[in-house]
């Protein structure tokens, strides 16, 4: 066949059909576009976030190739410079840096977290480059880092006068801050003012944190933080050949609780930290792509099945198998191309939104980098294109094979493919059962480096397994229905059931799509509701204190905002207060992973608290044991580090690594990072730190009703210059639940998509079925069937599909929810979640799905009613 003839045939045979079935063609394109857009948006967002992070790290660290940082907490004593200074003799340059979160009080009284960077402005030019905005504008293109400019620009401004700072251009612009303005910062429980000496340009350090930072001379920053000679890091520039030597020397001389790493190491760690989040996004992408593939498969399969006799006719007329194959291949390519290109366009638009979500996660672990706009790389577009086209082709493959397998004889045979599926129902059933069995085995396997690979695989196999069983179920259920439905719905009932049975393959594809959509909805609903219930129960039981006190800075989001330890004694003196328990938490670097080291007053906790432990032991029993080198660890930490009761955890302290025996593991749903909690008196001794990050306040029983009065009394006591925040347990609880719901909002959006797509595929199938049944409808018209009766047949078919989809979806959804709760989530986050089924929600949404399924039958039903009897029958 000549190419021109092929194109002609393609136009007439395939393109006209696509145009005739606009709705379905559109749906398919939209499905691919959805998958590709989510994929692209997430990949752009992720890479943008990581590259901004890397950018910030290099801008703050300059040319440093080694850095000294604390293993516990965020700062350490600068006195270690003593040990570093001698290294200058071998060409090492060093510079201490402060790099801390502070809370900025804006003019509109809102707060936001910004980064305070303190550098030794006199010594620093070797490390960083700094330009003010004018210098930027004059010569240097933004982003150029040129050492020469630094010294000159720095001498222009009066950053050396007390309580002054430089402000990043982005921050300055957003908050309308300029030279001479004042910025107010919450640090711990204090409010500090700084005068802006200048606004920095975007090049060099000024471009770190995307220009959302405040830079001060290190002495000034230490004054602001009041941390008495402490620094966040010491950056080192060593001659390249000496770096290994320097590292060994430093390890020998520096205190044991300091880490010597490289800036790249820090980026590596950042990457690791966001990995579980990334995997979640990956799962989202995965679902979106699956949905797209499924739609392609669904549409193409239905098209091929519907057109079998026509394909047979073409074959009988001498069209070769390969030509048939090529035509459908071209159709798939065309749909894939349209879907992928529009997906790429939409994905680019979605990337900014996705970036916001990703940057929130970064903030949780590190610092805030406002990331308004994503910067995609060209290869990401290419990758998205390849993924879109590749998956489209994979999904289109089975229908392509199907099309090329049509023999010329089928031109005359109707429904030949149906008897084939009927014969295949048993093998399908066996395959389905085998896949489910395999899924079960996979679900028992452990995670691979914290990622539940087998859990996801098991979910995928369960979905395919259940879908394979659908033909068998339908082949047995539909004859039964055709026997009993007529008593309820008259002859329409029988016609609906028998027609569905007559086109078993299409019916199966539609029912399976709906089943999968509903299963996703059901499983996510079960997971969220179980989780929510577990969390509320946990809050209600383990949050025994009446009031919770923090510094303002901590309340506004700076995790290391502190209160002095003496505050606890002050609080205890307030009338009505029965007890106060100090709690301190510090970032902990443990084996290159992030967690928290915390310390608590276990004696108070033993009497008043109610922590829940995996062992089932009582709070008192466990807390009484927690003296000396014993610790309790949170469940996520135990899961991540694979620790059990009686094992030990090693934590870096200024006195060297210390081992703590795990006394017990407590349930903790507030964080998946993991906590190691040790006795506070020991913590004070080991780290010389008396401060706390929060205080749990227990009231006398008779004061509990006067909670607000006591709260006010405490606040009054600290009025003078102290900025603290006291929340009641009730407030904490509702805040926790608010955050919970917000976190899962995206999940809800996801299941709405899943169900919508499923319903669309039901509509898709019903359209195909109606077109297929045109002849039957025409005959019925001849026999005196009313239009309404024809509509009713289609609506009943929709209802049958809806019901089957619902039932199958409940079953599969149950399986998926078990996998989500006991395998996927457990392995990703380490939380034990108590299983609970939101019956109301599932019943309501089941009904909603059924109603919508029936509603999705309305357009095809109207098509059926419009059947023009004579023209259809004449087609014979």
């Amino acid at each position: 066949m000549s190419p021109a003839a092929f194109i002609d045939l393609f136009k007439r045979f395939v393109l006209r059909d696509l145009a005739h079935n606009k709705m379905r063609s559109l749906l398919t394109v939209a499905g691919i576009a959805l998958g590709v857009s989510v994929f692209l948006a997430i990949s752009i967002a992720n890479s943008t976030a990581l590259s901004r992070f890397g950018d910030t790290v290099t801008k703050v660290s300059g040319k440093a190739n080694l850095e000294v940082a604390p293993a516990v907490g965020t700062v350490f004593d600068e006195s270690v410079i003593r040990d570093i200074a001698p290294l200058t003799s071998i060409g090492v340059k060093y510079s201490p840096i402060i790099d801390e979160n502070v809370i900025l009080l804006r003019r509109d009284s809102e707060t936001e977290m910004v980064q305070l960077v303190g550098i030794d402005m006199l010594a620093d030019p070797d490390f960083k480059t700094y330009q003010n905005e004018e210098a930027d504008a004059k010569a240097e293109p933004v982003g150029v880092t040129d050492d020469g400019v630094a010294g000159k620009a720095a001498s222009d401004v009066s950053v050396f006068s007390p309580a002054t700072c430089l402000v990043g251009a982005n921050l300055a612009q957003r908050l309308d801050v300029r030279k001479g303005s004042e910025v107010k910062l919450y640090v711990d429980d204090r409010l500090v003012s700084l005068t802006v000496a200048d606004v920095m340009g975007g090049g060099g350090l000024g471009g770190a944190y995307s220009g959302n930072l405040i830079i001060a001379d290190i002495a000034c920053a230490q004054e602001v933080l009041q941390n008495g000679g402490k620094v966040s890091r010491i950056d080192l520039i060593c001659p390249p050949d000496a770096s290994a030597q320097v590292e060994t020397k430093l390890r020998a001389s520096l205190p044991p609780d300091l880490r010597i790493t490289s800036p790249e190491g820090r980026m590596e760690q950042a990457h690791k930290m966001t990995r579980s989040f990334e995997y979640n996004l990956l799962a989202l992408t995965f679902i979106a792509l699956m949905v797209g593939m499924f739609l392609i498969y669904n549409t193409m399969t239905i098209t091929v099945l519907r057109r079998r006799p026509e394909i047979g006719t073409l074959r009988a007329l001498g069209v070769a198998k390969t030509i048939v194959m090529r035509m459908f291949l071209l159709e798939a390519l065309l749909l894939g191309l349209l879907g992928t290109t529009s997906g790429i366009l939409v994905g680019r638009l979605m990337a900014d939104g996705a970036l916001k979500a990703v940057s929130k996660t970064f903030q949780q672990f590190y610092f805030k980098i406002p990331m308004e706009s994503a910067d995609p790389r060209p290869e990401q577009y290419l990758l998205a294109f390849a993924v879109g086209m590749g998956l489209t082709m994979i999904a289109a493959w089975p229908p392509l094979l199907e099309a090329s397998s049509v023999s010329p004889a089928e031109a005359t045979r109707r429904n030949s493919q149906e008897s084939r599926l009927r014969r295949w129902q048993w093998p399908f059933l066996l395959i389905g059962a085998a896949l489910l069995g395999l899924a079960y085995v996979l679900s028992l396997q452990p995670a691979i480096s914290g990622f539940p690979v087998f859990g996801y695989l098991a979910a995928l196999l369960s979905i395919i397994g259940c879908a394979s069983i659908v033909p068998f179920l339908l082949a047995h259920a539909l004859p039964v229905l055709s026997r009993y439905l007529p008593t309820l719905f008259g002859v329409e009932g029988r016609l609906a059931a028998t027609t569905l049975n007559g086109t078993l393959s299409r019916t199966s594809v539609a029912a399976a799509s709906l089943m999968i959509g509903i299963a996703m909805m059901v499983s996510l609903a079960i997971m969220i509701s179980s989780f929510r219930k577990t969390v509320t129960l946990w809050i209600d039981q383990s949050f025994q204190a009446d009031l919770w006190m923090q510094s303002k800075a901590k309340a506004m989001g700076n995790k290391s905002g502190r209160l002095q330890g003496a505050v606890i004694d002050e609080v205890r003196k307030v009338p009505g207060v029965a007890a106060a328990e100090g709690f301190v938490e510090r970032r902990l670097d443990i084996g290159g992973q992030q967690a928290f080291l915390a310390a608590a007053d276990f004696d108070v906790l033993a009497e008043h608290g109610n922590q829940l432990f995996l062992s089932g032991r009582s709070n008192k029993e466990v807390c009484k044991q927690l003296v000396g080198y014993r610790a309790m660890i949170s469940e996520p930490f135990a899961v991540r580090k694979n620790l059990k009761r009686g094992d030990s955890v090693t934590v870096a302290t200024p006195q060297g690594d210390k081992s703590f025996v795990v006394e017990d593991i407590y349930y903790d749903y507030a964080s998946d990072l993991g906590y190691v909690i040790i006795p506070r008196d020991l913590y004070k001794k080991l780290y010389g730190d008396d401060s706390v990050t929060s205080i749990a306040i227990y009231l006398e029983p008779d004061s509990v009703p006067r909670l607000d009065e006591v709260r006010k009394a405490i606040l009054d006591r600290f009025k003078a210059g102290r900025h603290i925040s006291i929340a009641s347990t009730l407030e904490l609880r509702s805040e926790a639940i608010r955050i919970f719901d917000r976190t899962f909002a995206i999940t809800y959006a996801l299941h709405t998509i899943a169900v919508t797509v499923a319903l669309l595929s039901v509509m898709n199938a019903l359209f195909a079925l109606t077109l297929e049944s045109k002849r039957e409808f025409a005959i019925l018209r001849y026999l005196g069937a009313r239009k309404a009766q024809l509509s009713r047949v289609v609506l009943l078919q929709a209802a049958i599909l809806g019901t089957v989809g619902n039932i199958g979806g409940l079953g599969l959804g149950y399986v998926l929810s078990l996998l989500l709760i006991y395998v996927i989530n457990k392995q990703s986050f380490g939380w034990s979640v108590q299983y609970s089924i939101p019956v109301d929600f599932i019943v309501e949404s089941g009904i909603l799905v059924l109603v919508t399924a029936i509603a999705s039958g309305i357009p095809p039903a109207r098509l059926a009613a419009r059947t023009l009897a004579p023209s259809v029958v004449r087609d014979e």
């Binding site: 002859v491 029988r494 028998t498 039957e776 005196g784 009313r786 239009k787 009766q789 004579p870 014979e876």
Partner: protein, 222 residues
């Protein structure tokens, strides 16, 4: 009063302005067996569809059983067709997913009249009449062409229609089966007094008719 009366009926098909029927006048009395003959494309099927109210007409009037079909709503015409007309097609047009018995009871079920029992009894009676009572649980695909057409005849008659319309009922059958179907139709007409209008090409078919009408280019010529 005649069962069917067409006065000046004209039918034009849409875009291409095909004048399928031109000023057709026709009267059919109760109990007649009318054969409609003419070359392919002369308008036989169109005439039958128009009589059954399946196609609308541009001019003229059709009165069936004392009711004028002109201006009736689709709903009403459907009701008339369901109750009073039975159809037999060239290609049988049985529903492939229904059994023989279910195909035959279909018109009664669509009307929603009679109990299940009565319908079954009526269907068995009809199947007996066409000699296929032992095939009631078969699917159409398991029958021969002649058998399928006999099932179609049973289906056309089950609700005791005033008029049976047959469009080339033997057109797709070999001569033996064709003869059997014609004998059956003739018997129905003679013994039950069933009114029948049949479009046909074949002389054998015309031979059983009371009246033969010749059509040419959308007109009745005799």
């Amino acid at each position: 009063m005649p069962l069917l009366q067409l006065v000046g009926v004209s039918k034009t098909y849409g875009e291409h302005d095909v004048h399928a029927l031109k000023q057709v006048d026709l009267t059919v009395e109760d109990g007649q067996l009318v054969a409609l003959m003419g070359a392919s494309g002369c308008g036989k099927s169109t005439l039958l569809n128009v009589i059954a109210g399946l196609d609308d007409i541009q001019e003229g009037d059709i009165a069936f059983d004392g009711i004028s079909l002109k201006g009736l709503s689709d709903e009403k015409i459907t009701a008339v067709r369901g109750e009073k007309i039975g159809f037999i097609f060239q290609f049988f047009n049985l529903l492939s997913t229904l059994t023989v018995l279910e195909n035959v009871t279909l018109p009664l079920e669509l009307l929603g009249r009679q109990s299940h029992k009565q319908r079954m009894a009526a269907a068995r009676e009809m199947l007996h009449l066409v000699g296929l009572e032992d095939r009631d649980q078969f699917f159409p695909a398991q029958l021969s062409g002649g058998q399928m057409q006999r099932v179609a005849i049973a289906r056309a008659l089950i609700h005791k229609p005033k008029l049976v319309i047959a469009d080339e009922p033997t057109g797709n059958l070999d001569s033996d089966n064709g003869a059997m179907v014609l004998a059956l139709l003739s018997k129905l007409n003679k013994e039950l007094g069933q009114t029948l209008i049949m479009a046909t090409h074949s002389a054998e078919a015309a031979a059983i008719a009371d009246r033969v009408i010749q059509m040419k280019d959308g007109r009745i010529v005799t």
